[in-house]
Subunit: 446 residues, 2 copies
Amino acid sequence: MENKILEMKNILQEHNIEKINEFVSHFQPFDIASMLVELEHEEQLIFISMVPIPLGAEILEYLDPELQYQLLHRIKDRFTSSFLNEMSSDTIVNLLLSIHPHHAKKLLGFLPDDYRKKIYTIMNYEPNTAGRLATVDYIAARINWTADQALHHIRKVGHDAEIVSYIYVLGSRGELVGVVSLKEIILAKSGTQLEELIQGDAISVLVNMHQQDAADILSKYDLVAIPVVTEDQRMVGILTVDDLIDVIHEEATEDFQKLGGSQPLVEPYFKNSIWNLFRKRIVWLLILFIAEAYTGTVLRHYEDTLSEQIALAFFVPLLIGTGGNTGSQTVTTLVRALAVGEVQFKDMFKVFRKEVSTGFFLGITMGAVAFIRAFFLGVDIDTGSVVAISALFIVIWASIVAAILPMILHKLKIDPAVVSGPFITTLVDGTGLIIYFSLAKVLLHL
Amino acid sequence: MENKILEMKNILQEHNIEKINEFVSHFQPFDIASMLVELEHEEQLIFISMVPIPLGAEILEYLDPELQYQLLHRIKDRFTSSFLNEMSSDTIVNLLLSIHPHHAKKLLGFLPDDYRKKIYTIMNYEPNTAGRLATVDYIAARINWTADQALHHIRKVGHDAEIVSYIYVLGSRGELVGVVSLKEIILAKSGTQLEELIQGDAISVLVNMHQQDAADILSKYDLVAIPVVTEDQRMVGILTVDDLIDVIHEEATEDFQKLGGSQPLVEPYFKNSIWNLFRKRIVWLLILFIAEAYTGTVLRHYEDTLSEQIALAFFVPLLIGTGGNTGSQTVTTLVRALAVGEVQFKDMFKVFRKEVSTGFFLGITMGAVAFIRAFFLGVDIDTGSVVAISALFIVIWASIVAAILPMILHKLKIDPAVVSGPFITTLVDGTGLIIYFSLAKVLLHL
């Protein structure tokens, strides 16, 4: 990689277009973009003014919006205009929304009127919706065309489309009537009407659908792109699979961070300042601290029991830790199963039975182990028995709480990922202590 | 949905092929498959013998391997043969590996010799590799062809291909020379050589690459399919984006379950017996129990300190809980950032600085809050100060441990997801207690 970048730097110094073309012909646009970011800014400008426009536009797609802007801003106006017309509309929308509105306005001036209007429409949809993520570079056909006419049309306009695998068949009002794949058009007998090639009602998503739901539909139907329509079925654009893969990654990352008990970071890790990390984390830490604070009240309540039998304190972290671990295992499994749709609210009773049964056997095992541990700590048999029975009940209790809570939150449309490991741990801690000390009081007659 | 199923049942009773065709024409194969699983088995058999073979094959793709087998096994042999020849090779491989080898052998008998050989090759690759996931239904072209010849070839064989968006250009030994998109072939001027259309070296993956890595490459280069080759560049098949989306989901689910502190479930939630859930969870529960057991030793060591100042016990769950929560936040953020490549081992020092600084400010805040809590529990100022200072140090300590551990494990090629929330919690619990009681001993002169 580093050799390649040096080679690139040398070639750029020569200002020899043929050598540059020969160099880039060995790489994919993504790889060239990865090399480009390692160059000096002046070198980047030379490079981008010397590669063929279509390739340059593809390379620009892989760069950060800031760098995209710096390059588009500093090259000659006619290049800026050509690049913008070659870039995909979703990249342009992302670029325009990431830079200063004043700069965005200047760039918008380079676009033809009707294209600018389409870009405006997309920019006005809410963040994280299907509409905002859509690209307008798709190929549309009329319902009364034949397959040959469609193919002719593709040959004419296909160059600007982000994806040509599907052709979207529109009615007279611009409403989506059906989808035909390029494969079907190519394989169709001469003279076939597009209408005959449409199989079933078109799968589409509404502009205001959440991007996560759109990604789910795309992966359910094994599609490469999905049309985005308004309430009255007018076609706005398409979502492509590569953008939705990014959405899947993003949403999984968010769930991870929520499970870890912090608010999701919007930016990649290193783009977050210390202050930002602090802000995202302190909220949950404080909430959990306040929730956990009642363990102090519980323990103070049992102060006498505790001072009579100080050995009971030895097992506090162990018992509440085990309860928390059990709850955490169940919660993560269920949160994920709910997120991917394997489990639904109507399965609640089934889940409950399964988790409680599993919890029972886990409890028996952990109780036995706790008894052995108490023995080796040199604690008397009675206290050991209290620890063992407590372990049994705490594990079952943690399983119950962890099974029910995510289901109820899911039903209440609260993201169950917020019932993170730390949250369930906190909840089980105090209640676990009550179980432990109540049993101790009764069984040890304290 | 339920109405549709009733309608379907009624139509099936009439055995009227036209009505069935009219009914299915309104749906996508995925939707028909979702309805089919709700029918009686006899009805399923009638249905699958009456729909057109290509549509039936598409519907079969969405069913469980068990149901696929039951249907293929009970319909007439000539149907079985036609369906198998229409189904995609990766579905067939998955089916054959899920049923009894004896049954698999019988089904393999329905395939043409050369196709059977290809299927055998795929079946012999290791699970979770690119090779095992590949489909052999792709379109290959020769390097010396023109675009027109390639298009003619696509029209001839395209029907059996899973994806026609890319054409794979092979050399004389069957080695992959380059990839050309169908778009480029369609847009090419008449007489263009395929060689001229190839841009850069083909992106491909080796047969034994892990499926997760293959998915990463596909999403990095925004591809819809990626060719799978042997060490000597011979083409084996392609991985398609829909299969890789499933891989992305699977791998995220595994990471979730590991973070939750249990071994990943291979099957969907409800397919796991109670015994299986028990087995997956008890291992980690026991490991964590044993790791946590030393908190008992620590507390027994400080038994005298504890009995002199019993109020110290009130804050044990709160302090170790806060330490665990802080560690858990950092670990989940970093594990995810490592998994998606945002953070690398070489960034260790940067991560360390960032996390310790964040931890410092979090610690200050939590220390202040802990002091307030101690005050309201009616504890004396000295003990309250010990609790506050302990909170500060424990939070910083938890940040340090949680920042370093995943990085080191990642470097040692141990999956950092195993440094799950529960694991870091356990680790911080005992060390946190040592910090707490050492401070108490010194500051309270106990």
